[in-house]
């Protein structure tokens, strides 16, 4: 099982610019130092959500993820900017809840080496029936059929939000955002065209999911950014 993972950071307003760039570089180049880190890229959020940096990546398996977790680069370099007690911390606790989201999948259908990524964080009704969740899943993953601008559409439960320690076992309660809808667009114009367009799901999103599939979606938030994979040689693929 592939683990697809996103870390989302709100940068402290008074953080030195060079340290913010250092965190971007640390994320973008992570795959150079930890070979288990695949499809590694960053993006600067351009949505209204008050977060700045998104780090997208993946692991070929939970075992690969666990090797990342114990790698010195993780503890020494990445955590330097992130852990609450770290003297060089430059992030703040984000309004979107813990800034870690992700899911398991059988194939890297999320994969894009360039273009624009859009993450829609979803909170489904906690009493949703499994068959209704599956209906929603099918509708969202079929979105490109109705919205031609969208070239990637993956919807999955946000398992990584609670299972961040080993990629499989929840170590905390259910995350604030129960599901993720990961989208991809070739250009910013295509992204805007979808968001402002007349496809069924674009209209549903603009309406705040009001009444869609019996109101299964309670709340949503969006992030979008241009994918910045850095130098080509740093991007590893499974």
């Amino acid at each position: 099982m592939i683990l697809r993972r996103f870390e989302v950071y709100a940068i402290r307003p008074d953080a030195p610019a060079d340290q913010a760039r250092d965190l971007e570089t640390a994320c973008r180049e992570c795959g150079r130092f930890i070979p288990e880190v695949l499809d590694c890229a960053i993006g600067i959020n351009r949505s209204d959500a008050p977060v700045q940096l998104v780090w997208e990546h993946a692991y070929a398996s939970p075992e690969a993820y666990r090797r990342y977790m114990v790698h010195p680069y993780h503890a020494v370099v990445l955590d330097r900017y992130i852990l609450p007690d770290a003297p060089q911390r430059i992030v703040v606790d984000g309004p979107l809840g813990a800034g870690l989201y992700g899911y398991g999948c059988d194939a890297p259908s999320y994969r894009m080496s360039e273009g624009w990524r859009r993450l829609v964080l979803l909170r489904l009704d906690k009493d949703s029936r499994q068959r209704d969740v599956e209906r929603l899943h099918a509708a969202l993953e079929q979105a490109p059929a109705d919205a031609g601008e969208m070239v990637v559409s993956v919807m999955a439960a946000n398992t990584m939000g609670a299972a961040w320690f080993d990629g499989v076992t929840p170590v905390m309660g259910p995350p604030r955002w129960s599901h993720i809808w990961e989208q991809g667009f070739p250009t910013r114009d295509a992204l805007d065209s979808y968001r402002n367009g007349d496809s069924t799901l674009a209209e549903v999103e603009r309406s705040g999911w009001e009444g869609f599939m019996d109101g299964i979606v309670n709340r949503s938030a969006e992030l979008f950014y241009e994918i910045d994979p850095g130098p080509t040689e740093t991007v590893r693929r499974g």
Partner: protein, 106 residues
């Protein structure tokens, strides 16, 4: 054995307050999570400069640190410690050191 070395820069008037945070919050959070306290030292507060407070913790290796890290993150006191400490410090670094054995040449 590894050492985590936090070297934190504080204004002279905040040194005691920062040391109290280490004594009362960090000590409990870190040791309950599985780290061992090694030492705490400061530079002089009588020379007209900011003071560096260096706190050292020990643990076996990065695998053990990963477990300690999990325990800390799941401990609400860790986040309180982080918030209080960040309000007092004006700079600093965190580095991980691996102990090395020196063998003098004969």
């Amino acid at each position: 054995m590894m050492h985590l070395v936090d070297t934190v820069e504080v204004e002279p008037e905040h040194v005691q307050e920062y040391l109290d945070v280490v004594s009362n919050l960090a000590m409990a959070v870190m040791t309950d999570a599985g780290a061992s306290f090694v030492s705490c030292a400061t530079t002089s507060d009588e020379i007209g400069e900011r003071v560096f407070v260096q706190v050292v913790w020990a643990f076996e290796d990065h695998v053990r640190w990963n477990e300690i890290r999990k325990n800390m993150v799941l401990d609400p006191r860790f986040h309180e410690y982080g918030a209080v400490a960040s309000a007092l410090r004006v700079g600093g670094t965190r580095r991980f050191f691996t102990l090395r054995t020196l063998t003098p040449s004969p």
